[in-house]
Symmetry: C2
DNA sequence: CCCTTTTTAGCATGGCCGTGCTAATTTAAG
DNA sequence: CTTAAATTAGCACGGCCATGCTAAAAAGGG
């Protein structure tokens, strides 16, 4: 282990992260199809060669970026989910559930941007094999969270008898996805107020 | 009106339609970003010059194609909606409503393809201004249909008292959109059986 | 046969793309 | 200062793109 000259000028992880942030801005503004190395490099204020030093190919950059998006979502999910399972009465849980699912909806500007990027990537994943694993994990992750919440509610007797938890999981997950998609594509029509009202109504409905 | 020589070799409308069909196949297979004039012409078995004779620009082709998609959806909606409003008891209406909304879900191969194309176009519309009018009409069209169905149901007393029809409209529309998006992006997980079960469950829920 | 129009075909230009490649520059340890 | 490694920068190639433009081919009324 004898390196005779090692410049550690900058944390490479931070650089990669900065590039990914620039890519997210481009995707948010102009879509995945405009996220070329050139456009991303310009957005990041770097030369194209610099970007390519951290990512061997365009595809690798996209894959890495989508993983980063995965991480962000997962972190928010984990935090909210732990709070829910810490509460033991269904009365305590209800507002926490609403908060957690609200976390998945584009209710503020930051999460709206995130939803835009999410939709851009998962739709792109349909025709880009390298993105499919991450897209699938995001899909399953939502169902996992929703499924756990509903199973927990059923265990606490917060759901009416005879409710099929698997069907309700798909229903609630599809509803959340649908609201997010609508908010991304028609933000003027699907406002945060509408989304909150719909979600709240659905949870009331589930409680019987 | 004296044209001294008029070759009417082929119905230009039919040609335009054939080009649009080819474009739909390309979009279905590889996404909107691959629907270049070259790829579409090849898929249609025409020279690129021929395609350009019927569509002055690439953008015009995309706009025209999305309008055609609009028309197809609207035709199916109108037929189903008329049948519903012809029925006057809520017991008669229920299966018709389920059929109409089922018409919007990708339950068979043809409608799956149509849903794939629909999602590709409406997401593309986010960053392509020329597609936005059609995308907005599709969005509003669904809400119009769902809103009329629910308002009719309320009039017939098929909904519980105190139900907010506007919120329920958004909820059902978002659910249908969400199911369609999931079926397009993760067809292995969101099967026709799952979609039917979810839709049926939701309609039961609405009836109280 | 002629002539006008539709239709098909193709060329050329300028632009953006990813990527292979080389080289300049910077950094800090020896 | 020297030097190896990390980083930044940039060139060049081949490919695909939309589009302006020209022109060949087909078709049927006169």
């Amino acid at each position: 282990m004898l390196k005779r000259g090692v410049p550690r000028i900058v944390d490479p992880e931070a650089r990669r992260s900065a590039v990914v942030d620039a890519l997210f801005r481009v995707v948010r503004r102009d879509g995945v199809e405009q996220a070329s190395l050139r456009n991303v490099a310009e957005e990041a204020g770097l030369a194209i060669g610099s970007v390519r030093h951290y990512f061997d190919s365009h595809d690798e950059l996209l894959v890495f970026a989508l993983r980063e998006l995965e991480d962000r979502v997962e972190v928010r999910m984990r935090a909210g989910a732990e709070r829910i399972f810490a509460a033991d009465s269904s009365a305590e849980r209800r507002p926490l559930v609403e908060a957690l699912l609200g976390e998945l909806l584009p209710l503020d500007a930051d999460r709206h941007d995130e939803a835009v990027i999410w939709l851009a990537f998962v739709t792109a994943a349909r025709t880009r094999p390298s993105l499919r694993p991450s897209a699938l994990r995001l899909h399953e992750g939502l169902r996992m969270v929703v499924g756990r919440i509903l199973a927990g509610a059923a265990r606490l007797g917060a759901l009416p008898e005879g409710v099929a938890v698997d069907v309700e999981t798909e229903r609630l997950a599809a509803l959340v996805d649908g609201l997010a998609v609508n908010a991304v594509l028609q933000p003027d029509r699907t406002t945060p107020e509408v989304m909150v009202a719909v979600l709240s109504r659905h949870l009331d409905d589930l409680a019987g």
